[in-house]
Amino acid sequence: MYGLGLIKGLGITMKNLVIPSRQFNVYQYPNKRATPWDLAKINNSKPFTYIAKNPLTTIKSFVGLVNVEEKLPQHPNFRGEEFAWYDNRCTGCASCAKYCPLGIIKIVTGTSGVNSQEGQSYDLEVFDIDIGRCMFCGLCVEACPYDALHMGSGFEEAQYQRSNLVIDINKLKSAEKKPSTWFRPQLVNQGHDPISGDTADWRKVGRHEKPSQEDQSERWAKR
């Protein structure tokens, strides 16, 4: 019958309005409006004791004036900004620079003062990554033979000037290193989760030998 589809459509929209599981997964980034129950959970106390202790905050949160920070849920595989670079592992081979489709990695090396023997390792003088032009394809990470360069997990790197978007060697050295598990099965095997704030030491991140086909299959393949 004509017109029945219109009525059915109204029914579907009403269903989506009413059923909570139909709601879009909306994350109130960066701040979430917290209910008293949320607040109690955050402060590790039972809801009623929390409400009894903080009546003012409870009233505020009922009206919707209390915010707590919320991060967007990501997978540890997320290819993000803040490259994690380990100078202990880097030999300055510049594979990453060579493999980058945009050529935004700049590496200048000199002879090492520590390892005097030539060819053993180089001192890196410049290691710039211009993330203003980076498209986070991850080819540099894939190319690194010594697992020295890893993708990061951040995504809030807005700057006022383009020049600030260039990550130089000092920044890379001093940064808190939260490598993404992208293309790094060994980190997955260790249960590394950069999103919840796990940092990784340079000793942890490397593959000391190439994993065998069986190893990979055991770990990765379900079927």
Binding site: Y2, G9, V26
Partner: protein
Amino acid sequence: MYTSFYQLIDFHSFYDMYYKIFESLGLSSSASWMSYLAAGGSLSFLAINLLVLATAFYTWFERRTIARFQVRRGPNRNGPFGLGQPFADVIKLIMKEDTIPTEADKPVFTIAPIALLAPTLLIITVIPIDDASFLATLNIGILFIVGITSVNSIAIFMAGWGSRNKYAILGSMRGAAMLISYEIPMALGITSVLLISGSLAMTEIVAKQDIWFIVVMPMGFFVFMAAATAEMSRTPFDQIEAESELGSGYNTEFSGIKFAILFLAEFMAPIVTSAVVTTLFLGGSQGFDFLPGQAWFVLKMFVVIFILLWIRSTWPRLRIDQIMGFAWKILMELGFVNIFLIAIEVAVLMDPVTGLLTSQDLLIMAAINWVFTILTLVFLANLLGKRNYDRPDPVPSPLANMQPKGEK
């Protein structure tokens, strides 16, 4: 308590108050007309500001509700539950640069928003929010509403023409054609109400609704609602500013405070329309005693608004020729049929001496009308359904012949 408060905001009390003030100032000779003006001014000021405030919160309500339908959250950042959002919007719009296109017809362009807002504001004057009217007891109340809304089409035309934009002109051409066409079914829907109530005054119409008119004549309600939806250009009739086709229609070139006024008028329309619908079909301020009449009125308005939003968030829009066809080919006929039916019923059932209809009469009419309405709608649906649903099974075209490589 509420009655006394309501009587405080009343023309007479204002008049008396100002009269005393002017008398005490020693202006007793001219106190009469001065207090008349002052009372009217104060009352209008209150009414307009109340309406504007209501519209501001209505925008919030609309955005939140539609967001919920669309499984989103809606504005929830400014203030508790996002209630500060309308004020943020207004402040933003006022702060913005008010650009006028170089080629625009400047006076027309400037007056258009005001011309659109004024009629909508005027409608609220005759709507009885409780037993007494809020502002004026015009005995032509509903006729005044029909007349004053027709100014809208001119205002939309002024906006479109004044901005010298092709999209705007297209939008306003559509608008003028559509608004004029839908005035006829709307008037027909109103006429069927008038046949029973026997009066043009809104208070009388409310008083006559022993049985709500939506029960008595569902067809009239359907016709009026459809026409009113088109009159305020909401989905599925929002061709005037079909944002996917015309950008923004007649208000494409407007910015700043002019845009704010245009949108004020646009968002005021659902409030005003739902108030009119409540008065005509939902028994106005009638209700049970535990709540004041005003509260019932607002509650019914909210129900109407919610249904409008529900429809808006579900249905797409019709094409312009389909909209016009709907007005002239379906809605007008339904309106006429409804009027004939009601007229016959009224002529048969009405007490010839007193000219009144008892509630029993209304119930009899309701029974006849419901059966008739359902039959008509089913008939219409089947008539239309035959054309659109008969569709053969797909037949593959003989021109292409898809075979995997190697097979012959």
